[in-house]
Amino acid sequence: MIQCLKAAAVAAVLIVLLRAAPAQAEPYLALQEGYKCNVCHVNPTGGGLRNEFGLTYAKVLLPAETVDNAIDSWSGKLTDRLRVGGDLRADWTRTTAPNSPSQQAFSLDQFRVYADLTILPDKLGIYVDEQIAPNGSQNEEAYVRYGSTTDGFYVKGGQFYLPFGWRLQDQTAFVRQLTGINMTTPDKGVEVGYEHAAWSAQFDVTNGASNATTGSGYQITSQVVYTKPIWRVGIAGSSTQSNAGDRHMGGLFAGLKTGPVAWLAEGDLVHDDSFPGGRTLAAALLEGDWRIRKGHNLKLTAEYQDPDRSVRNDQQTRYSIVYEYTPLPFLQLRAGYRHYFGIPQNNAENQQLILAELHGYF
């Protein structure tokens, strides 16, 4: 009987964990450790392929359980010059909105592979981020990089994600939706970056996502971040010139570590002339990540969005609680609950979401 109860308890825990949601390198990890993005990622602005240190961190420091000889397991290096990696996320979601039947589905959220070819050490390289599934192959990032991404200036040319605010795992966060700069919207152009001591800075000239089909216009984006061991601040700005209407954005973001909790905050303001008469929009994020113990993280987020500053009573908020469990190297389980609050006449703005995610990475 006791064994049955134990089995049921284990099953219940597994079910809860399998309902969990995602995790790969997230900015809260960098904040908790006092690292800059380029400490763990090949891309100096974060996300995507992990470098040698990032992979070691993922093998030894991140998981709850250390595996024997973990350090000697997958290194990502196919040759001295070629490093590869990837992320696979499969999830289950259940969405409930007022006056609508609930919807639930298992889905392959994404399978992405990364490759970085060093042509001249610390000088010249080529980076590729390719989404393999779902919906067939799709290039996310592909650029040539010249210069040092660890100390000094570098230049990137090709297709890449723009630097603006916290590079969150959750691409549906209000701050990432409102700015339109997230890891689903790469852009084509050139980036000049600077990395030195506590400073990181980028200056980008790109087509602009809203100009993708028009063949005219451009977007200028810039970001500066100052990083200290237990805090950091950043400022970002972007301006898009487009036939559809110009768009200007500014954002401030900051992080602070207080004991086992890492706090992330971001506030963005957007003025968009593609709306008739122009519109000013705002979004804010506050996230707390509590590292309960090694391999266990509890994430709480509160978000705010005002889709038109000149209109009263149209604001939206969103609250999430997500538990992240990394039992072993290269495997993470996440489960969470998210509640949207918006105007009562719009069902989609008042939906609730339960999500679970299985995340494998290498």
């Binding site: 909105a97 006056n99 609508s100 691409q171 549906t172 939706q177 339109g180 997230n182 689903t184 919207t185 089909t213 028009t214 063949g215 005219s216 805090w231 601040v233 036939n243 559809a244 401030l252 900051a254 602070l256 706090w263 905050a265 971001e266 506030g267 593609s274 709306f275 804010a284 994020l285 506050l286 509160a302 978000e303 705010y304 889709p307 038109d308 209109v311 009263r312 009573n313 149209d314 604001q315 939206q316 908020t317 609050f341 918006g342 105007i343 009562p344 006449q345 719009n346 069902n347 989609a348 703005e349």
Partner: protein, 289 residues
């Protein structure tokens, strides 16, 4: 001392963020379902229904025409109130020309439904970016679009029936620069046309040379058609994609007699060119490789 100041600033910033977020969501008072202010004097907006006017006001105008408007409208599909019906009903989609954007009576084989529901063979689900950067249309909303198509995709109730026959819209419009070759030129009228009076030479497209005053004109091979499902729009379909250059849409000399409504009214429009033929629209195509 300095770190203390920084901590104080950081804490203040985070506290300010927390305070802003702690604000409640809007109560929606005085707003429509899209979060836009109701018309002064009360709720003048139409409730969502399977009527085209309602679909235009609740879906196409507030959601779709944010992108699908003007010379840069994706796929040349303009979904503003002046053009959406004429560019949707019985018009082949640009992405999959074998499928009509709206096939009256057949929602499953209407491209707009496939795009809204996210199972079209080409391209992304609409509205663009959903569900990541904006919510997808709920199934209950798409159901009204389906029902409208099932009903035969009728136009909005006619207005100005007693007004003289006139051209209400031309796409591409006069003096517009379009960044991609338009799949068709559309000329919309305020009344249904008497198609028995139309001839293949009633209207045509000319490409203008780069000679300034001494223009060299090339007539673009094209066919003209008026769909039985929408007798208010005349379409000119170039047989080959228009290349970069300046074009004009011209009504043939004496062709005004061919543009009449069923009441026999004829249309007078355009500015006569050097041959005395009325020019309906002059536009530029600037195709980027």
């Amino acid at each position: 001392m300095r770190p203390r100041i920084i901590f104080t600033c950081l804490r203040s910033g985070i506290a300010a963020c927390a305070l802003m977020i702690a604000a409640c969501a809007g109560n929606g008072e005085g707003l429509d379902a899209n979060g836009r202010p109701l018309m002064p004097g009360g709720d003048m907006s139409l409730p969502l229904s399977d009527d085209f006017e309602s679909l235009q006001e609740n879906i196409f105008t507030p959601i779709c025409s944010v992108c699908h408007v003007g010379a840069s409208a994706p796929m040349g599909l303009r979904l503003d109130a002046a053009n959406s019906y004429n560019l949707l009903v019985d018009v082949p989609s640009t992405e999959v020309p074998s499928i009509l954007r709206v096939k009256p009576g057949d929602p499953d084989n209407s491209y707009i439904i496939q795009k809204l529901e996210g199972h079209a063979a080409v391209g992304a689900q609409m509205p663009f970016g959903c569900p990541t950067s904006q919510p997808c249309l709920p199934a209950s909303t798409i159901a009204f679009v389906r029902q409208w198509i099932m009903n035969g995709a009728p136009p909005a109730a006619a207005s100005g029936v007693n007004a003289p026959l006139s051209i209400t819209s031309v796409v591409p419009g006069d003096k517009e620069m379009v960044p991609t070759a338009p799949p068709q030129v559309m000329v919309a009228f305020n009344h249904e046309l008497d198609v028995s009076q139309l001839a293949t030479y009633s209207m045509h497209i000319e490409k203008l040379g780069a000679g300034g005053a001494a223009l060299r004109l090339d007539r673009v091979q094209a066919r003209i058609a008026v769909s039985d499902a929408n007798l208010r729009a005349l379409m000119i379909w170039p047989s080959r994609p228009l290349t970069s250059g300046r074009y004009r849409v011209v009504m043939d000399a004496g062709a005004s007699a061919h543009f009449s409504d069923i009441a026999g009214q004829t249309v007078a429009a355009g500015i006569p060119d050097e041959l005395g033929e009325p020019v309906i629209s002059t536009f530029d195509v600037e195709v980027h490789p």
